[in-house]
Symmetry: C2
Subunit: 260 residues, 2 copies
């Protein structure tokens, strides 16, 4: 089986032009086939402010009305995605940008309203694995922004972590998949105030105790749940770390299903 790296970059990587450039240089050098997944983070809020469009966040999640969806589509699907693609092209990587609507790449449903109406937010329901196989096998590197569609003409703002995990799982039928999450820390930290306290390995047993000790809490829990789900569904390897981990320079947290 051919190897495939699915790498997700967080907002902090995108927001700093130097960090992004350095990351893209490392990413372009990954020898296996690869997919990049990105969101846009704080840039969407900044742009909404500039355009005088109100932004409403509930528990760290954006309520996506029509105007905010337009901003996300312009930024994630347009400015950020196309500039990443152009930079990767310059680095010798034949990148090709995709939203979930492009080639029906990633299908979703609008999140059902329970207590909160998140607006045009998508929950992923399917991946067009055929499209990704065609692109990967003919030498293209998909660069996926955090937008999906409902196959009925509606674009949907979608969590980039979930997109990365879903792509990794779906493509594990055809490739040996490594899933990497790059963010501002060098991994999951034992002590949030100590950047060098990276936890080397998290197994389900260790995860349970880290949650009990409140070392892992709030926003990190759905991220790690995503990772374990990916491992249970065919992904070979999951790592969380700084952008430089993909060059093998910095430490990272490795997630494993079994104690070794």
């Amino acid at each position: 089986m051919d190897k495939l790296a699915v790498i997700k970059i967080g907002g902090n990587v995108i927001e700093d032009a130097d960090i992004l450039q350095s990351f893209l240089t490392d990413f372009a050098q990954i020898q296996s086939t690869k997919i990049l997944v990105h969101g846009g983070g704080k840039k969407a809020t900044a742009m909404a402010n500039q355009m005088g469009i109100p932004v409403q966040m509930v528990e760290g999640r954006r309520i996506t009305d029509t105007k905010n969806l337009d901003i996300i589509t312009m930024l994630y699907g347009g400015k950020i995605n196309k500039n990443i693609v152009a930079q990767l092209q310059n680095l010798g990587c034949n990148a090709l940008g995709l939203s979930g609507a492009d080639g029906n790449a990633i299908q979703a449903v609008k999140r059902p309203v329970k207590t909160i109406d998140y607006g045009y937010v998508g929950d992923v329901v399917g991946v067009n694995t055929e499209l990704f196989q065609i692109l990967l096998k003919t030498g293209y590197t998909p660069v996926c922004c955090a937008i999906t569609h409902n196959q009925k003409g509606q674009l949907l703002n979608t969590n980039a972590d979930t997109i990365a995990a879903t792509l990794a799982q779906s493509l594990s039928q055809y490739f040996e998949v490594f899933l990497g999450y790059c963010f501002e820390k060098q991994g999951v930290l034992e002590n949030i105030d100590n950047d060098s306290s990276v936890i080397e390995t998290i197994t389900p047993k260790k995860y349970k105790s880290l949650k009990a000790e409140q070392v892992i809490h709030s926003g990190m829990i759905p991220k790690i749940d995503n990772c374990f789900n990916a491992l249970k569904n065919g992904v070979s390897s999951v790592k969380i770390g700084a952008p430089k981990m993909i060059a093998g320079i910095t430490p990272y947290t490795s997630l494993k299903l079994k104690d070794e």
Copy 2:
């Protein structure tokens, strides 16, 4: 040889949601493989105004500084492109949006400065025909926005008419290509004030006399030059008309190299 329709839509089609929806419905029903090319027209100026960014036009052409390029990338590559793609998906057409940077689809050079510095404006120098063949032969419909790249990380604002003509010419090696330009009139008019005075056929001889009579002038000249170039370079058929011409409902102007 398989047939391929390359259809370019102008700003007026994009600016009116109903006209766009009607056009996309007709476009989705084209039986042959097909490519859609679009710009964005006046929306870019409106958005620049909303964001307080100055817009400078010289002889109908936009001087594209960094901020205006960002707007174009957000609008053409993001909002307009992704919404067209999502709508086509809903209409059963497996559309896939591309800028010229995506998959190195369309290469350009920054226009050299003579008397006027147009800024980040691209002159097309090459097409990745392999990418278009892969997509077309596996059932995808490329939707190309009016952005190219210089292969060195720089996106470039590029004339959509030229992109359509260049794609049509390049792909005429592999397909029997029909090139269609859809705009607000039902064709080239004998009398600009009479919408039903559509000129049925323009040959080079007729073109010469229409220019001499000032029936064809200013902005229409480069458009028609583009069309004749396409015909001379392998394109089978070129038509200019309203969006409804692709459904065979309205008249159009047909360009031909020879008198029949």
